[in-house]
């Protein structure tokens, strides 16, 4: 069986036939070539696959592509506009908020959700909001700084 889906990803509309068991993360990476959304643990623990689906940060390794039919999706590739980095991307660069960089797209998308809900979070609120994102380089302190830097520069 296949399911017809139509999704808008980073402003572009795509239509595909997908197998019901295809996860959204594999659709984004393998069908659309958007490999910025990473597969880490593949069990919805690590948060590396976080993307924004209809305004909500979602671990898209645990969502079927079929469930996303009709959705508006933003991935890390869709944050920069006209060649200018998003304030969160700029802040991660500025404050050394990444080491190996593997967790970074998910961290940024989760932080995007936080700042959308709370423009002036405390450090504790930032930590709580990034609870679902693991950095195995353990570079958390600079990640917190990056989110705060982005909050201040917004």
């Amino acid at each position: 069986m296949s399911v017809a889906i139509k999704v808008t990803v980073n402003g572009q509309t795509h239509e595909h036939e997908v197998e019901p068991r295809q996860m959204l993360v594999s659709y984004l990476r393998e069908e659309l070539g958007l490999t910025g959304t990473h597969v880490g643990c593949d069990t919805s623990n690590c948060g590396a696959c976080t993307a924004i689906v209809d305004g909500q940060a979602v671990k898209v390794c645990t969502m079927l592509a079929a469930q996303a039919d009709g959705a508006e999706i933003t991935t890390i590739e869709g944050l920069a506009a006209n060649g200018t980095l998003h304030p969160l991307q700029e802040a991660f660069r500025e404050t050394h908020g990444l080491q190996c960089g593997f967790c970074t797209p998910g961290m940024i998308m989760a932080a995007w959700q936080l700042l959308e809900r709370n423009a002036t979070p405390s450090d504790a609120e930032v930590r709580h909001a990034l609870e679902g994102n693991f950095c195995r380089c353990t570079g958390y302190d600079n990640i917190i700084k990056a989110v705060q830097h982005a909050a201040e520069s917004a």
């Binding site: 069986m1 399911v3 919805s44 989760a110």
Partner: protein, 271 residues
């Protein structure tokens, strides 16, 4: 990881979803318990019935002193609802500490209750608040009191041809949910909810036994009221006579100790 192949249905209404139910089909809402189980091939249903978009299942409203919550309402929606916080704060608190923000954006109350993970947060709050779980099946609807809903590990009173449509939570005077989260998974090692309504206090635990349960021993010992001494004496009886879970993270003795500590915390919060 890739699940075993399955058929996918997206019914437009609850009635249509009920017609699609079969022994080989599973309901999909947020999917945050079901899809990981399918990817690990612990579960391999032949069909998924996606009820995640049925609008008639997503709401929070007041209904004559009761808070009515549609089955596909997400943890995030419940945690951020002023109506739930004002009338059933234990439920809002439980919702706010499930998993992480991304999980709360997708996971639903109906899905969590139907899944009945022994370490899930909602069941303790649902029991202490005296909620009812409204279900609909091919033979019509019924309402299951929380006290009769949780039967055993991943086992509820829900029949195979029934769908949870609503959770009805009576407004409490005061209620609270506190837990000791597993440091990695954030599931409750021990979670305790306490609620007072019309002078009666209910206390319930999750994470402690195969199924969440009301602790009648603690409740009976509270007849002296919620003074500091009364709470200490009642909390000391937590999980008495209960068969308690043990795993490599928390043995039985440790869990019993945590049950007492978290009973005291929950009761102190509503005192």
């Amino acid at each position: 990881m890739i699940p075993v192949a399955f058929d996918y249905h997206r019914p437009a209404s609850v009635d249509e979803a009920i017609e699609l139910l079969s022994d080989d089909a599973k309901l999909l809402a947020g999917g945050h318990s079901l899809l990981p189980a399918m990817k690990l091939r612990l579960s391999s249903p032949g069909a998924l019935i996606d009820i995640g978009r049925i609008a008639e299942l997503n709401y929070i409203r007041e209904d004559g002193g009761t808070i009515a919550i549609g089955a596909t309402t997400t943890h995030q929606q419940i945690a951020s609802s002023d109506l739930v916080s004002a009338n059933a704060s234990a439920l809002a608190q439980a919702a706010s500490v499930i998993g992480d923000p991304q999980v709360r954006n997708k996971g639903t109350i109906g899905g969590s209750l139907a899944h009945a993970d022994p370490a899930a947060d909602y069941p303790a709050a649902i029991l202490a608040l005296g909620a009812e779980i409204v279900v609909r099946g091919s033979d019509g609807g019924r309402s299951i009191p929380a006290d009769e809903f949780f039967i055993d590990l991943f086992l509820t009173a829900l029949a195979p041809d029934e769908i949870i449509t609503e959770v009805r939570v009576p407004a409490a005077d005061k209620s609270a949910y506190v837990k000791f989260p597993h440091p990695a998974s954030r599931f409750a090692v021990v979670g305790c909810a306490a609620a007072s309504a019309g002078g009666a206090v209910k206390v319930a635990f999750t994470g402690v036994a195969n199924a969440a349960f009301r602790d009648s021993g603690v409740e009976a010992a509270l007849s002296g009221g919620l003074s500091e001494e009364g709470i200490a004496a009642a909390a000391a009886r937590a999980a008495d006579g209960q068969e308690v879970l043990a795993d490599h993270f928390a043995g039985e003795e440790y869990r019993r100790h945590l049950a007492k500590v978290f009973a005291r915390k929950a009761l102190a919060t509503i005192a």
